[in-house]
Amino acid sequence: MQKTVLKMAQSRRLTRDVWEMVLEGDASAFTHPGQFLELSLPEKFLRRPISVASYTEDGVLLLVRAAGQGTRELVTAAPGTEFDTLTGLGNGFDLKNHGEKPILIGGGIGLAPLYGLARKFVGGGLFPTVVLGFRSAADVFYVEDFTALGCRVFVATEDGSLGVKGYVTDCIRSFVPECNYGYVCGPTPMLRAVSVLPQLSDGQFSFEARMACGFGACMGCSIHTVSGAKRVCKDGPVFQKGEIVW
């Protein structure tokens, strides 16, 4: 973990509620895709946890959904706005034990950390399959960015307005039955549905929780695992399938 100041370089609206933001500053604390940062916002006591969609030495790419007041302020901040930030939080994805046939599965804004993961894999010569689920065509974003990396990308929308009609699980069952190791991020019901797909013998699941500290001090984010309580912020946010108690 590092405490540093990140400066808004640019913000671009992707859908009605999702923005792509580039923040500049010291990002050297990041070592793994799937890690996150915590931004301090004016007039908010708690920091806001956001995954790094990708990071370089001197900046981060964030994909942010304007979910409430804090994220709304964040995405509309003027270029040059500075944010006191804790960087390099959480464990991130393990790229080494990616199983036989890895697949990246993202639900909505949950695709954010998978983008950096896909880049890392591609950088290492592995082109994972990617399945992205959205509410409807109007909510779809970043599909081209995954495609541009050279990944095979499937899109599912709940209303069928783009790609496969249904959930990511429907899509996976029908179109990529061969994949057996998942890297998964999205809303908890989606994580759970994916976890019971019999084809996925193993995988890594990224969790969310309301956090106070984000660095392991307060036990605010603890969840049950097979080996007892674990902190989403410090022991996660990525957990191995076998650890998780649903």
Binding site: C218, M219, S222, H224
Partner: protein, 304 residues
């Protein structure tokens, strides 16, 4: 050079700044950021007899200038704390530790304190009486002067270490509770714990916290904490650890003027992991500006 050292019922601290229980874990995460030996002491996470997971998710909600928590005393239980955590803490902090003790019955408090009495690393027992008494229909020990006195007696009977009773602010008359603890033999008072609060999610129309209510802490509670420290200082002749909303060296000074001998810093650590370090660093400057050579001169200054 300002002399920052203070004495809490005979336990010497190099300065009055103490991270508050539950906001500093067992110090590990902070020790990666700075040398904990710059702190006066630290109060580690509340310990119960058995391991506890605590409440279900969500446990955290936001509040104006503060936060709600309903962690619910997650801890590995007294035996694991003594076997593993205290030896670990000894490696990262050389001074006397403050052991925060929870309990759901008089026996549990006594049992935990008896075990901690045998730990030389522990300088002070801080007894958190904001816990429901399972033998009294879940009534909070800290809300009743008799129950508070009983816990004090039960604990004092099993330890020679100084016992600081940590009070809940959710009472009509904090001075009455403090007096009950003092009369029962407490060596000091720590206050305040969190104020009971609630937030509701407009979308789900349900309380945000799985536990429904949670404890409010952070700057929002600072004026309440200062007032209660003042009240207790007027009521009892015991050293006071002031706590609640402290986030700057100026706040430490204000708490001390109200009557505190030492000061705990809670939620501020969560928002800014360097909070305690910065407070310790800024304290000499604040003392200088106030024309104070020894920080102990501040204690109770507003009562004169």
């Amino acid at each position: 050079m300002v002399n920052l050292s203070v004495s809490l019922a005979g336990v010497e601290l190099k300065n009055p700044v103490i991270p508050a229980s539950g906001t500093f874990g067992y110090g590990r995460e902070f020790a990666e950021l700075y040398d904990l030996n710059l702190l006066g002491s630290f109060s580690f996470k509340g310990t119960t007899a058995s391991p506890r997971f605590g409440n279900e998710q969500p446990r955290i909600a936001e509040a104006p200038a503060g936060m709600l928590n309903a962690v619910g005393l997650q801890n590995p239980g007294i035996d694991a704390v003594i076997a593993k955590e205290i030896p670990n803490m000894e490696k990262i902090f050389r001074g006397p530790l403050i052991a925060n003790v929870g309990g759901f019955s008089l026996d549990e408090y006594a049992e935990n304190c008896r075990k901690l009495d045998a730990c030389p690393q522990v300088g002070i027992l801080e007894v958190n009486i904001s816990c429901p008494n399972v033998h009294a229909g879940g009534k909070n020990f800290g809300c009743d002067p008799n129950a508070a006195a009983e816990v004090t007696k039960a604990v004092k009977a099993v330890t020679k270490k100084p016992v600081f009773m940590k009070l809940t602010p959710n009472v009509t008359d904090i001075a009455e509770i403090a007096r009950a603890c003092a009369d029962a033999g407490a060596d000091g008072i720590c206050l305040i714990n969190t104020l009971l609060g609630m937030r509701i999610d407009l979308r789900t129309r349900q309380p945000i916290l799985a536990n429904r209510t949670g404890g409010l802490s952070g700057p929002a509670v600072f004026p309440v904490a200062v007032r209660m420290v003042w009240d207790v200082y007027e009521a009892v002749k015991l050293p006071i650890i002031g706590c609640g909303g402290v986030s700057s060296a100026e706040d430490v000074a204000e708490m001390m003027l109200a009557g505190a001998t030492a000061v705990e810093v809670g939620a501020a650590n969560l928002r800014n992991p360097y909070a305690c370090k910065q407070i310790v660093e800024n304290l000499p400057g604040v003392c200088d500006a106030l024309g104070v050579d020894r920080i102990t001169e501040l204690t109770g200054g507003a009562h004169r």
